[in-house]
Amino acid sequence: MSGPFTALFLREVRLAVRVGGGALMGVLFFLIVVTVIPFGIGPDLNLLNRIGPAILWIGALLATLLALDRLFQADREDGSLDLLLMGGHPLELVVVVKCLAHWAATGLPLVIATPILSIFVNLEPIQIGAVVATLLVGTPALTFIGAIGAALTVTLRRGGLLLAILVLPSTIPVLIFGVSAANAAVSEPMPFMTPFLYLAAVSLISTVIGPVAAAAALRSGQD
């Protein structure tokens, strides 16, 4: 018998990677977004190189949002959420574990796919490293902030759009620091570490606030 939270983590990852889960969808969506943009902009390699980090970041942001609306909704619809609430474990921790599993199944594959997609937008190796590092640090923040929106919209049948409208504005700081750190890696006077550390700080703060707020939203949504 494994611990309750290990069991929950494994269950979430299994659900995400099996049929009907959202893990593969996120990466495919990321791929499509990043591939379509060069077609729209045209073969201007310098331009692509300049806006490449931003394209990758926005693609990752949208791909993360894509699977988030099912984070709690799937469990609510089949009655699992009731049992998770009755487990006798703090709901905040349940949310943390669900978010970590969600990130491992949908966020981490985006980070892994980034080096290949970076070639599409003509990034140099050092830029690729910077984008991967910022995404690795920044995507957990997207998941934890998104969890608040997912918990707020859990009772709505088609809450996906509302979720995007609620969550996207709050992810702007993550986007700003993520993209500026990635850009700073190649433009000489700007330091890489300053925006990168701010990004890490935003990530850490949302790791604390996200689960507490999401758990409160889930509790108040129970009826």
Binding site: G3, P4, G20, M86, Q222
Partner: protein, 202 residues
């Protein structure tokens, strides 16, 4: 052990479901909640399970574990079976055993008990309604909790499974547990008492 509800008031969507409702059920007793549709049977069970807020009144479990809140000592089997279609029957059941973290029957024994042991490796998506329900009931066996809250537990069950469920409920009661069930099926329960909920005032 004694589960006591005093002066419970529940309002949902601005409508008063019930008020001034009280009940007491001791270990070794089965309380069957009856009443017309919409009388608040499901709401009462969900209130006890901590899934619906009650606006007034108290629920206590005397002789239970004081460290745990009442819902964490209850099993709730409602209208939904909490079954994940992409996980196998075994994975579904073992997850809940690990999550509830209290000892109980081995998952395979619990499945055998409900006569779905041969389906252990099948993904949940392929189960029939009755098999899904039996899997949901197997959850009550893999983690021992003193209070069972069952909402229409016999729905989708055939005669044979219904008798099996009655036997399980009686065994739980004989073991000193508490069963609260909302059902229209006349189950042959020992130590059966009845709680009649009337039609709410509009």
């Amino acid at each position: 052990m004694r589960l006591i509800g005093v002066d419970l008031l529940c309002e949902r969507g601005g409508r008063r479901v019930f008020s001034g409702l009280g009940f007491a059920v001791s270990g070794g007793e089965a309380l069957v909640v009856t009443g017309p549709n919409g009388a608040g049977k499901s709401s009462l069970l969900r209130v006890i399970a901590g899934l619906v807020r009650h606006d007034a009144g108290t629920i206590t479990l005397e002789g239970g574990d004081d460290e745990l809140p009442v819902p964490a000592q209850c099993h709730y089997a409602g209208h939904y079976d909490a079954l994940k279609p992409s996980l196998t029957v075994m994975e579904n059941l073992s997850f809940w055993q690990s999550f509830f973290e209290v000892p109980g029957l081995d998952p395979l024994d619990a499945l055998d008990e409900l006569e779905i042991g041969h389906l252990a490796d099948l993904p949940g998506a392929y189960l029939s309604a009755g098999q899904r329900r039996r899997l949901a009931l197997a959850r009550l066996l893999v983690a021992r909790r003193p209070v069972w809250l069952l909402d229409e537990p016999t729905s989708a069950l055939d005669r044979r499974s219904e008798a099996k469920l009655t036997a399980l409920m009686n065994a739980h009661v004989a073991d000193g547990g508490i069963v609260m069930a909302a059902t229209h099926t006349p189950l042959e329960l020992v130590n059966r008492r009845e709680l009649q909920i009337g039609r709410p005032q509009a």
